[in-house]
Structure formats: C-alpha cells, structure tokens
Symmetry: C2
Subunit: 355 residues, 2 copies
C-alpha cells in the first residue's frame, strides 16, 4: 500500500469532497464495506446472528473497523441495518437466508397508527455507542458515516413484508390507499430525521440516506411519493455542517428530481456515467459508481475501471464508491485494488494539477 | 367496448406502426397478456403444469387467444416461455414457485460445448403448431407475435441457474471467463435466430426479443457483451418484412446502443418517458411503456395514464404496451380500461389530424 503513506485516509478530505471544496485526492469508501466478503466478518458471524451483531456495540464497532484496518478508506460506516429503526417502531423483523421478513405487513391506516415514533437516544442507544466508539478509534483518519433507509424504501419493506420484486402491494397502495401511504411516508420521514439527528449527535460526521428501491418509480411517481418524503426527512435532520448523501439504485431518470431533495451529495449507480451526471448537474458533488460486479474481475481490470471512473470527474467533488453494496463473492484483492487505484489515480491527478 | 366497432383490432395497424407508417390509431397489446391475472388462464393451469401448457399446442393456442377474446388487442403473442428453446438445447429446466431452476449451471467451456444447436422444425414443432392455429383463428384481426429471450438474458439464466438478483456468476464470467461467455452468447444468438426464423415461417408476423436483464449492465458492458450478441441474433433471422421488437427493462441509459441492434422497434420501460425516447431517436418506432403497477390503480387513473402516454408520441410510430409484463394481481377492469383508453385516445387523435 505504497500510496497510503503519501495520502493517508482523512475525514477532512471526505467532508471537503462532499462540500465541493478542493481536495488532494478524491476520498473513497465502499457501500457494505463491513460485510460478508471479509473473512474476519464471517468469523464474527459464526458466533452471533445478524440482529445480535447490530445490537452489540462492541462487536458492531469491531466489524465496522475491519475494512478500515485492511483498506484505509476515507469513510467508516457503522455496522447496522436499515430495518433496525423499523424494529424500534414496533415491527417484528426476522432475517433468514432470503432476506428480512416482517411479521405484519402494513396495509391499512390502523396498521400505520400502530407504528410508533420513538426516541433513538432511549431505544437505539446502542447505535449511539457504536458511533462514539468509532469516532474514538478512528480520530481524524476517516469520516464516521451514519445512515438510514429513505421513507419510500422502508415503506416498500413495511408494505410488502419482505424484499420484493414486483412492488405490487405498494403500487396498489399508491392507487387505492393514498392516505395510508402518505401517513406511512410522513411517519417514516420523521422517524428517519430523528434517527439521523441522533447519529450526528453521537459522532456521525456525514449521513447517507438509502433510497435503494426508488429507481423502480417513474419520474412522475418519484416526484409524487418518494421525493417529498425524503425531502421531509432530510429537512428534519438536526445538523450543522454534516453533509447528507442520497443514494438511489437505477437513478438515471431521477437525477434532477433527487437534486431537489436537500441532499448535499448524490450517490449514483453504474448505469449512469459520472460524466453525464456531472453534465446534468455541474455543481452537485457526486458519489459512486463502479459496478460491484466489476470487482469479480482480475485486479488489472478493477484498476482500469477505477481510473476510468476518476477520469470522468477529474476527482473533483467526487466521493469514490461502488454503485451498490459490495457483493459477498468479492475477492479481498479486488477490494484492495479498488482502494489503491483510487489513491494512486487521485494522487497523480493532484500532481498534474496547475500549481 | 363501444370504441371497438369504430376501430376493430388489426394486424395491418400493428405492422404499420412498427414500420413507422401512418395508422388510424396506435395498436395495443400487453406483455404477458396471456397469463395468471385471467381467471380462464388459471382454470387451464389447474389441469396442467406450466411446461405441459407450453408444449400442448391446443391448450397453448387456447390461452394465447383468451386475452384476444376479452380485450381485442391488435397483437396476439403465442403462449410459451423464453426457456423453452433452452430446454431444447439439452438443459434440464424445472419451474417451481420461485421461478425456473436449471439442473447444471454453465460455468466452463465444456459446459458450453455440451449445449446443442437444434432444428426448431423438429424439436420445437409444437411452437409452429401453436402459431399456425393462431394465424388461422385470428386472421387479419391481430398480428401474431413470436418471441425469444435475447442471448444475454438467456445466458444470465444459464450461468446463474436461476432467476438472479446479484448477477454475480455472470459478472465473474465477464471478468475471468470471457472466451466461455463469448462462446455461450454466440451459440445462443444462433439458436435464437433459428427459433425466430422458424416462428416466422410458421406464421409469426412480428417477433419480440426479450433482453429483460440487459438493463443491469453499464453502457460499456452492454456494448461489449449484450449488444453484439443480440445484433448477431437479429441479423440471423430469416425474414422478409416481419419487424423485430427489442425489449430491455431499465433501458434509459442504453437506448442509443439498442438502436444499433438492427431491431425495427425499441420497447422501453416506464422509467424512460416516451417523449424523451422520441427526442433521442426521432425516427425509431417505439413500444411501451406504462408501469404494470399502474394497473393496480382505479380505472380512471389507468385511463388518465394511457392518455398521457399517447400524448407523448401523438400515437405515431407507437405500439401501446406496458413497460414490463402484466402483474398477476391485475384486475380485469384495469386491463379493459388500458385497452379501451388506447382505442379511444387514438381515435380522437386521428379525428383531430389534418385532412
């Protein structure tokens, strides 16, 4: 990791890029960087279930730090799941090998009224603990990243009861249960604002909102349903200068609408070339966007693709990332190549810049 | 169905729209219009399995005609599955409630060499039978539509062994097994060309190539893998004036590349507004693109959306369709509203046109 000594990881670099300020190189991290592709993570998971791991501050901090020790990313996301706040709302969630399963899908106004807005400082105290520990361990070497699911994406889970492909139940609600869905989205927006505010108060220096499934919606439906809800969530976050990153998978058609959400950084997937996103929104800091599937290629191809991605933005106002979470099948060497290429390309870039 | 008498369904209307010639109104059909949302289809399925239904020319013709009798679409697609030709290549495919499952995923060059190019006239004789019967029953009232999966989408199934979400195995092959994947895609392209040629010889007046999963690929990877294969397939079809429709789900970023495939009509999903597709490719006939989830709304909303969709193209060089297959949960009234609105809006359009 020769390049590391010349440009060690840095929280300031991450935050500067999010605000569009000059940087020596583009900061880098990977969505789901703490996860199943790491042997040391799988080792921890042999002892505890996924949910136990989320709620154990010691272990959750430990697995959050595993990729930091290996790859020296500029950001450390705390280990958790977007459904942890949903559980705190009173919903029973179980995780099996097919993904999450909710005990009682939300279908009526009464179902929504049974959900509770809670105090994260009381009911998600462990997430605050994890963030404090990370901040203590990492210092200024990397930005601590908080996160939550966006209202529409969480509503998908709540209405469907499971990871869905057809989105039929929520689209039925969009047609027939508009008051129910509005009530649900508004409640989720307020819960998410509370949760992210608490994460920031606990040490998160940047927060990412995952609206993973919003790319399923037409532009018209995104503006009608997902955008107002995520805008309300972002507006409700109590923060000073901590930037908000908004991620949508399959967002080619939504970029301009996402730009009205109040987010500081837009995180895009590999179907939207960064050079095109930059043309469409010249002033907006971007995050992304390598296909996680590209990390299943030889390391020389990974490097080439990271270099090509950085050439699209010049490393300016760009947080280097994947376009979706890292796949469990990813070889460690590929993740290493991803981070090394990000560091090297950016350093070269800075060296070439006019004095 | 008052509007039907003024503009009965017509094969010529369908073919004219595909060639960009003037029409009295835009033709309409729905992907998966023969399927689970129809009670008369479910009735047939109580007696036979999915695979048995595909291979029984009487029953398959019967279920193909069910939506024609109900809704009078301008196109009748024959009932089958994109994996039927894969079975004829020597692959064992089983269908359970989680979708198809292939006995032996393709991972090596030897696996590819075991697959056989077959003669559809011998091994898929029943598909020819179905098409002949449909042509006899329908006459000039609707275009008979043949179809096949595109090479990349079929390769996804063959390499993954099942309906996938991560596409990890095929992306690994894109990185490490390029010769294997090229061999597989070329073979599939030739098989698909044979299959579609046989369908046309048996009476199909238009054929659709489903590259459903190609929207997963970045533009670069689409051009490297999916596009050359589908181009080879289309070029190999023995046809006279029968148009080829190319469908990709999530195609916003691929439209210009799809336009190089040799397809006559591009079928787009609801994330790409038709007005934008028309701007980007002014000369290219389009098919689509209502969100199938919109049919889960009250019929007045279905009508409004069909009208809005037709306003985007003026009904010119436009085959009205959904952006993906109709959902099993779709109420019959919604499907009726879809077809009625398509007929009425287009007739109004034609009435307004300058003499």
């Amino acid at each position: 990791m020769g390049a590391v000594s010349t440009s060690p990881p840095s929280a300031a670099r991450f935050l500067d890029a999010c605000h569009g300020r000059p940087v020596d190189r583009a900061p880098a991290w990977m969505m789901r960087q703490a996860g199943r592709y790491l042997p040391e993570y799988r080792e921890v998971r042999r002892r505890v279930s996924f949910i136990e791991l989320c709620r154990d501050a010691d272990l959750a901090a430990e697995v959050s730090l595993q990729p930091f020790r290996r790859f020296a990313p500029d950001g450390v996301i705390f280990f958790s799941d977007i459904l942890v706040p949903v559980q705190a709302m009173g919903v029973k969630v179980e995780f099996d090998k097919n993904g999450p399963r909710l005990s009682h899908p939300i279908r009526t106004g009464d179902d929504v009224l049974r959900l509770r807005r809670f105090d994260p400082a009381a009911d998600l105290r462990f997430t605050g603990e994890i963030l404090k520990r990370l901040r203590g361990e990492v210092g200024d070497s990397a930005a601590i990243i908080g996160f939550a699911g966006a209202p529409w994406t969480l509503a998908c889970y709540l209405v469907e009861g499971t990871s869905s492909k057809s989105f039929a139940p929520i689209k039925q609600m969009m047609g027939w249960g508009q008051r129910t869905l509005e009530g649900l989205l508004n409640l989720l927006a307020d819960v998410i604002a509370d949760v992210l505010s608490f994460q920031i108060a606990s040490g998160a220096q940047v927060v990412q909102v995952f609206d993973t499934w919003a790319g399923e919606l037409s532009r018209e439906d995104y503006r009608r349903w997902a955008l107002p809800a995520v805008t309300r969530a972002i507006a409700g976050i109590r923060r000073s200068a901590q930037p908000v990153i908004l991620y949508v998978n399959g967002c080619s058609h939504l970029l301009e609408a996402m730009n009205e959400s109040g987010a500081d950084v837009l995180s895009v997937d590999w179907r939207l070339p960064l050079v095109e996103a930059r043309q469409r929104l010249p002033q907006r800091p971007l995050q992304g966007n390598l296909d996680p599937g590209a990390l299943l290629s030889p390391t020389r191809d990974v490097r080439r693709r990271v270099q090509a991605m950085l050439a699209e933005t010049g490393g300016i106002a760009h947080v280097v990332n994947l376009g979706h979470g890292v796949l469990p099948q990813t070889p460690i060497e590929s993740a290493e190549a991803f981070f090394e290429a990000a560091r090297e390309a950016s350093v070269a870039q800075a060296a070439e810049a006019p004095a």
